[in-house]
């Protein structure tokens, strides 16, 4: 059944393991021997309830999520969470600090997605949006996002912020925080306000979720991720929410917080085990199959090592190409994403030649995001080391020409 498949380096929706898709194809007709397909079964059936609990536990065990945090499933992707995190955490802030004249929303801006998230907070109002750091300030040209800023450039000065927001991996720009605390490109957890034990720290992990362990997960208020990168089809969003952030949004509205649409209220989701309303059953199913396979292979530790090897090979090939004036890295060394590797092919018509050459060899979806151009090779979990070797070999043969 998996004949004729190409190598998919797309940035999302993106490659899934063929073995999982073959299993899912069977589940479409008959889920777990119920005689009913997975897209047809009630989200309240005992079979799906058990499956959903298994998906939660696969995430909890692989990421080591403590009992202080709930794992929730919702819809709407990262963009819906741009709004939801603000609305829920402003509601929490109103409950904790009813009479504050001004509320701070602190954003770490390292790329297109965290920039968009900050813009949504501005649109929604209800607080003052502060940019803790803008990575463009330290970029080569002052306009692009090409690196994780040095720790010294962050200013976490709000005394009592309603949220502190960052995006671990910027899919468009190809920059990612290092998860090695000793790296200068790590997230500066040590600089965060120290006076609050329950910091309102929000991490967008959409494009790195399940690709490696999450540093200091327990210190986060909210971690969220769209499924369509490392773990499943588009249409599913996974949330890890510290329980003090499951607040009564209606009580907060009485204190002046903005009302929160029902499906965006984390407490409603949590109180109903993520089935307040019909969830995205089929995307959850396929994500569950991917997570099972991931656990069998050794979990996020296995993928961390694999993803590091894959990306290292690609960055080495870019470096080789830079030395010969053929490729140009778009991101400063040390800040490069393990998930989305971006570079330019230098010279008139060279990029088109590179793309068509790769396509002729069965490698697809390597065009950079329309806002930044160039080449983007995404190396999510389902992209194998062998497939990575194919593009690296192609890059080397391209250099040799």
């Amino acid at each position: 059944m998996s004949d004729g498949r190409v190598i998919n380096f797309g940035a999302g929706p993106s490659a899934l393991p063929a073995s999982v898709l073959e299993e899912a194809a069977k589940g479409l007709l008959n889920f777990n021997g119920t005689g009913i397909g997975i897209a047809e079964i009630s989200h309240r059936s005992k079979e799906f309830t058990a499956f959903l609990a298994e998906v939660e536990s696969l995430i909890r065990s692989q990421l080591d999520v403590p009992e202080t945090h709930s794992i929730l499933f919702t819809q709407g992707g990262g963009s819906a969470q741009f709004s939801a995190v603000v609305l829920n955490l402003l509601a929490r802030h109103h409950l904790l600090n009813p009479d504050l004249p001004e509320r701070d929303l602190d954003y770490v801006v390292t790329g297109s997605w965290s920039k968009k998230a900050a813009e949504e907070a501005r649109r929604l109002g209800g607080g003052r949006v502060n940019v803790v750091v803008d990575a463009r300030a330290s970029s080569k040209d002052g306009r692009t996002f090409d690196s994780i800023p040095a720790h010294a450039s962050y200013s976490f000065t709000s005394p009592n912020p309603a949220l502190i927001y960052y995006c671990e991996n910027e899919t468009v720009d190809g920059v990612e925080f290092s998860n090695d605390a000793s790296s200068p490109a790590s997230f500066p957890f040590h600089l965060l306000p120290q006076n609050t034990p329950l910091l309102p720290l929000v991490g967008d992990y959409s494009s790195s979720f399940m690709s490696r362990p999450i540093p200091r997960l327990a210190d986060h208020a909210i971690i969220y991720a769209g499924a369509q990168k490392n773990i499943g089809p588009a249409g599913l969003t996974i949330l890890i929410v510290r329980k003090d952030c499951l607040v009564d949004v209606d009580a907060a509205a009485k204190l002046g917080a903005a009302p929160v649409p029902l499906t965006m209220a984390y407490k409603t989701l949590a109180d109903n085990s993520s089935v307040y309303n019909t969830p995205a059953v089929l995307p959850i199913y396929i994500s569950g199959l991917v997570l099972r396979r991931s656990a069998e292979q050794g979990g996020v530790q296995y993928y961390e090592a694999l993803n590091k090897r894959k990306a290292d090979k690609l960055y080495a090939a870019i470096k080789e190409g830079e030395a010969r004036g053929v490729f140009r890295a778009k991101v400063k060394e040390g800040s490069g994403s393990l998930m989305n590797v971006v570079f330019d092919v230098v010279g008139d018509g060279a990029e088109a030649k590179f793309i068509s050459g790769a396509e002729a060899l069965g490698m697809k979806a390597i065009k950079g995001h329309r806002s930044v151009g160039g080449i983007r090779v995404s190396l999510y979990n389902a992209v194998t080391e062998e497939q990575t070797d194919v593009i690296v070999a192609f890059m080397k043969s391209f250099l040799a020409q």
Copy 2:
């Protein structure tokens, strides 16, 4: 591949045609000969863009949607639309009537879902929620939703409402508006305020969408439907929005309207052809396959006749059982849904016996909604007349015992 499948009378997620699921199983591995599975392909790829346009045109042609209305695709199900219709139409109302001291939101309450929708409007605030009619007032016991109210009981008295809301088919309670204008159970279009050419009429068509034509579709501001009844997997919501309702929600917020989360703003969706952010690609795909098949079979006219025949057989069997004191209809004659047929089995332990008897013959998911109990047999498009005959035969044999 479709061996071992049972008859699925579930209320949603619900039965899909086996032939579609078999085709979808292939698309999971390789969509349209791209060498990439449908859950893995970019939502901006030319292949998916073309497919999405086809889905739109399949809906437009079968429901005869005029060019005055946009067809949009989003996530979050009906529950998210409970909020979105209020937020978007209040924004529109602010733009049209900037200085009004009070805004009216008029709800026709005929069952659990329209009641929930009205509750969400109350939660969100920003307007006065008026119940135009509450069907419980004319029910047998004054507490349940068992009929579509008589036209004389509606009071559309708001002079300039921001929205007028109804739900065509109440999945939980099994009542549905007739789409025959001469029926006393039809929606009273003729009673709506006559002073406004662009009425803010909102119809929740979640569980009847594509089961038959939509009466006076062009007179609606918004029609919405979750996919998981007649056309596809859960995780996709379809919207038909009259273009004057695609409003600049940020301009409205400056006039005092509540801010609208980005992914809930209809204009953002429309301006970006439903791919502002990643849509539910896989649910859209399966829905598209179902809609293709529906067009081949004769569209909503075909299903209207088929669904009428199926429901008539079931209601006749209930009537027969009522005469013998074995069954009891839960809904008054004339108000019964063609999609969700609900009844009680009279006597101690009789309901359990009925359910286990049906299950033994391969009929599943006939238990009524947990809030109302009894039996619910859902007869969505994918349930065949032959499958309906199987349960009717079982009902008759149950009577004979």
